[in-house]
């Protein structure tokens, strides 16, 4: 187990290294530069741009810039944003709490929806409930979040005028009002993301439970005279969740990706919207840092998923 773990970590290092080279090259080849807006402004002399480019090291050759970036990254220095002129880690840390709150809530909502519905569907396959649940699940994961987001805004903000559609991380209130305002503005983004996740998860839970429910040990449990509740909760769900849990771990980076669009629609000041605005502004250090964190997350969650699998299912052994 430990040897396996160490081997995986060692494999991950060149992977992450390779990813960083690819990312850096693509960003360097992409058109545009962070001080572009200055170029089209007649009131800013061209020397200012030249000076800024020199100050931020944009005129150095590509390999030099990469080595510099890598060296400072290893020393824990994430770089300096061209656009905001702040350290990149400050920028990311400012956004992290909001992202975690919104994404965490969405994931919880997804699981809370998927678990009971998926299980019930699987226990009564092809019943009316199952048919309806399946239909909604298909609709749920077929509709992209940018579409459902807009539909929600149209319905709840514009026609019904119940909920605000602009998310504000700093709410100027205290006590209950603060909580209430946060709840109100979080409902739509969390629902959009959570229901999308929930729809996909429902299908997984359903098929996993369906697989387990037919196995002999479940029949044995029933034959022992265990109540249906205990049979389902202790024997069926517990075993069925093994693939689902690993799947959740694998999906964490996907959620970050899906959140980018949702964050943009609702103006949630999270990591995703930071990434979009940095891409639009050609703010290379910030794009580099965020995409790099994302790719590390993918590698890491793959590792965690593999390890979890073995921990949950003792039949799997690592060599």
């Amino acid at each position: 187990m430990y040897r396996y773990f160490i081997r995986r970590i060692l494999i991950a290092i060149p992977v992450i290294f390779g990813i960083s080279i690819v990312l850096f090259t693509i960003l360097a080849l992409a058109p545009g530069d962070p001080f572009e807006e200055l170029a089209t402004n007649p009131n800013v002399p061209p020397e200012v741009r030249a000076n800024l480019r020199a100050q931020f090291g944009l005129d150095d050759p590509l390999p030099v810039r990469y080595v510099q970036w890598l060296a400072s990254m290893i020393r824990g220095n994430w770089g300096f944003s061209f656009v905001s002129r702040v350290d990149v880690d400050t920028l990311i840390l400012q956004r992290l709490p909001t992202t975690i709150i919104v994404l965490g809530a969405a994931l919880l909502l997804g699981v809370a929806v998927a678990l009971p519905i998926g299980t019930l569907s699987a226990l009564r396959p092809y019943s009316i409930f199952d048919q309806i649940a399946t239909t909604f699940a298909f609709i749920g994961f077929s509709l992209p979040t940018f579409f459902t987001g807009l539909v929600f805004i149209l319905l709840f903000s514009i026609y019904l005028d119940w909920l605000p559609f602009i998310y504000r991380a700093d709410i100027d209130a205290t006590g209950w009002r603060w909580w209430w305002e946060h709840l109100r503005q979080s409902i739509m983004p969390v629902a959009v993301l959570g229901l999308f996740q929930g729809a996909t998860l429902t299908r997984f839970v359903r098929s996993a439970v369906l697989d387990v429910a037919r196995l002999d040990f479940v029949n044995t449990a029933r034959a022992k005279g265990l109540s249906e509740w205990i049979t389902v909760v202790k024997h069926v769900i517990r075993n069925a969740l093994i693939p689902v849990v690993t799947l959740l771990a694998l999906q964490v980076p996907t959620i970050f990706g899906g959140a980018i669009i949702t964050e943009q629609i609702f103006r949630v000041p999270g990591i995703g919207s930071l990434l979009i605005s940095s891409i639009l502004a050609n703010d290379t250090p910030v794009i580099m840092a965020i995409t790099f964190v994302f790719s590390c997350l993918v590698v890491l969650s793959n590792l965690i998923a593999d390890l979890l699998y073995g921990w949950l299912d003792p039949r799997i052994s690592y060599r």
Binding site: G32, D33, P42, N43, V44, S81, V83, V86, R168, S277
Partner: protein, 596 residues
């Protein structure tokens, strides 16, 4: 109205009994042009506009919520990259004076506006003396003095600071301290537009005591870059780059009874249409900036009755440029080289015909609506610089006639040709729904006149980039004609009009950073431009700019399509915004208030 009546009206303005604006309106009603009316006031000694509108004598207006669909990313006005940063900084910092919607100066940190009458502006145009307002303090309690203003000059002028405001101080030789609250700016040359330094959005003053150790190369390390300490109506509370700027009322603000609101929140991000919606339809926000949204959508949102669109004039002009050089021949590693000649666009007949083929009224009415106005001029604002001599027309028959007479005969394919050269041109612009529709309208009209136009649309990020390696940038201009909007920035046309001077011709040698993109060269124009640079008589100078505008239009160097407006969305309850196209959206922020 006879002269005596006129004089008494001017006296009324002088004494403050009549507002400047209503005087000008009366004059326009009498058939005088606005520039002439403005000029009448100026020569009578009433040089500048006074405070406008009423303001409630109360405070405690709660929170002001404004929405910028591009968020402020930094709060040091000397580093501001776009208007979003200038506006974010303007909540806390202030300039000596601001430009109102008519392009007139309004004092902010200055006690009064310098003029030749009060002796502030030197007769030789080589210096200007600003008297600063007394009793103004920074948010940390330190007094605001002449030293702060002088420091801002040193800070911005230092090339190592790489301040984006450095252009405003480039003509300054020295800034002298006369006394604790008076400064004298000495210019290198006679400077007619003496109001450029320390005014408007690029003239915001930062405190010396917090920045003096962070000048030049160290400028980016200043902690105050992220926590502004200014003189403005709101004090800094919180800033998240790319998301939100928050401020609270400055209890010691230097204008009485202001500001009205207890706090301000400037939220950023998202897109323009939903920002318009948040103000006009749902009323979640009080004000939204830069409404680049189709007019029909804005009209539909306004129908909700919660807000309306505010339209301000500026010098933004959507125009078509005719390439004077050959974009299809490579000379010493560059196309569109100034050494070449365009195969057919140098024929005046072709350019005149092209000018007649642009259906400005359809483009205005069907595409832009209230967001722009059809115009024949390149220089449209402030109104005293607008030429009345130029007319535009849309006339396919006449275009056909002109081309026919010039010897361009239709071939079997319906395309005109002369000496083996066909009238086929490539028309480039950036990708943008409005621009592609405009291209279509022009292409269809041109086809009727036997001119074939091939449409090319480049992603904005590439088109407007300064990437030397990219052939599709607007400054390289590797096509026959192209279209985009150029902005003016200051209410003085000097910098704006340099884009037709010979010294500015874009070329490989200057990395295509020259601003003359059509590569048009005219000795007459250059001479006019040089004269205007040092002409101190305002009337003569305006005439020079009008002449320059007329030269570019008569020669069809450019075909103006649309004079574009600055559009904001304002809640019906929010008053006093008075958006100016010549300054920050927040130039008048201290006087914003809410009604009802």
């Amino acid at each position: 109205m006879d002269e005596r009546e006129l004089r008494s009206l001017i006296n009324d303005v002088e004494a403050g009994r009549l507002t400047r604006r209503s005087f000008i309106q009366t004059m326009v009603g009498l058939g005088l042009t606005a520039p002439l009316a403005t000029q009448m006031l100026a020569s009578a000694g009433v040089a500048h506009a006074q405070a406008r509108g009423t303001y409630p004598a109360k405070r405690g207006g709660g929170q002001l919520k404004v929405l910028w669909w591009q968020a402020a990313t930094l709060l040091n006005p000397h580093f501001a990259v776009g208007t979003k940063d200038q506006d974010g900084s303007r909540v806390f910092y202030e300039p000596l004076a601001a430009f109102d919607p008519d392009g007139n100066l309004m004092p902010i940190l200055a006690a009064e506006i310098p003029s030749t009458q009060n002796g502030g502006v030197a007769k030789d145009g080589r210096s200007v003396t600003w008297r600063l307002k007394k009793g103004v303090s920074w948010h940390d309690g330190k007094p605001f003095t002449a030293d702060d203003v002088i420091f801002n000059w040193e800070y911005a002028a230092d090339p190592a600071t790489a301040a984006t405001t450095t252009g405003t101080v480039k003509d300054i030789d020295k800034v002298e301290k006369v006394d604790s609250h008076t400064i004298k700016i000495l210019f290198k040359n006679p400077t007619p537009f003496w109001a450029e330094p320390f005014t408007a959005s690029r003239g915001q003053i930062i405190p010396k005591h917090l920045f003096e150790n962070f000048k030049g190369a160290k400028s980016r390390e200043a902690p105050t870059n992220l926590k502004p300490v200014g003189t403005g109506p709101y004090k800094f509370v919180d800033f998240k780059p790319g998301d939100i700027v928050r401020g609270e009322r400055n209890p010691n603000y230097h204008m009485p009874n202001r500001p009205f609101f207890d706090s301000i929140e400037m939220k950023g991000g998202g897109d323009a249409p939903s920002a318009a919606r948040a103000v006009l339809q749902t009323g979640e926000f009080d004000f939204a900036w830069n409404m680049q949204v189709a007019d029909e959508i804005l009209k539909r949102l306004e129908a909700g009755g919660r807000g309306k669109v505010d339209i301000a004039q500026a010098g933004n002009i959507e125009h078509i440029q005719c390439n004077q050089t050959d974009p299809w021949t490579d000379v010493e590693g560059e196309r569109s080289s100034a050494k070449t000649k365009h195969p057919f666009l140098l024929d005046p007949a072709v350019r005149q015909a092209l000018n007649l083929l642009v259906d400005r009224s359809s483009i205005h009415e069907q595409i832009y609506g209230r967001l722009g106005m059809a115009t024949a001029n390149f220089l449209n604002a402030p109104s005293r610089y607008r030429s009345a001599n130029m007319k535009w027309a849309f006339n396919v028959d006449k275009a056909n006639q002109i081309l026919e007479q010039a010897g361009w005969k239709k071939g079997p394919d319906g395309i005109r040709a002369k000496d083996g050269k066909k009238l086929k041109m490539v028309f480039q612009t950036s990708i943008n729904a409005e621009r592609q529709k405009t291209q279509q309208i022009i292409k269809q009209a041109a086809a009727k006149a036997g001119v074939e136009i091939e449409i090319k649309a480049v992603p904005a990020a590439q088109y407007f980039s300064s990437d030397v390696g990219n052939p599709d940038t607007y400054t390289k201009f590797y096509t026959d004609i192209q279209m985009y909007t150029t902005t003016m920035g200051a209410p003085d046309p000097q910098t704006f009009m340099n884009q037709f001077t010979t010294t500015e011709v874009a070329s490989k040698a200057n990395k295509w950073q020259g601003r003359n993109i059509t590569r048009w060269r005219s000795e007459e124009y250059d001479k006019l431009f040089k004269t205007a640079e040092v002409e101190l008589d305002a009337v003569k100078r305006a005439a020079l700019f009008i002449k320059m505008n007329d030269l570019t239009i008569q020669n069809v160097v450019v075909i103006p399509v649309l004079w574009r407006m600055v559009v904001s969305a304002v809640s019906n309850k929010l008053k006093g915004t008075d958006v100016s196209g010549w300054d920050s959206n927040f130039w008048n922020l201290a006087s914003w208030y809410r009604e009802g």
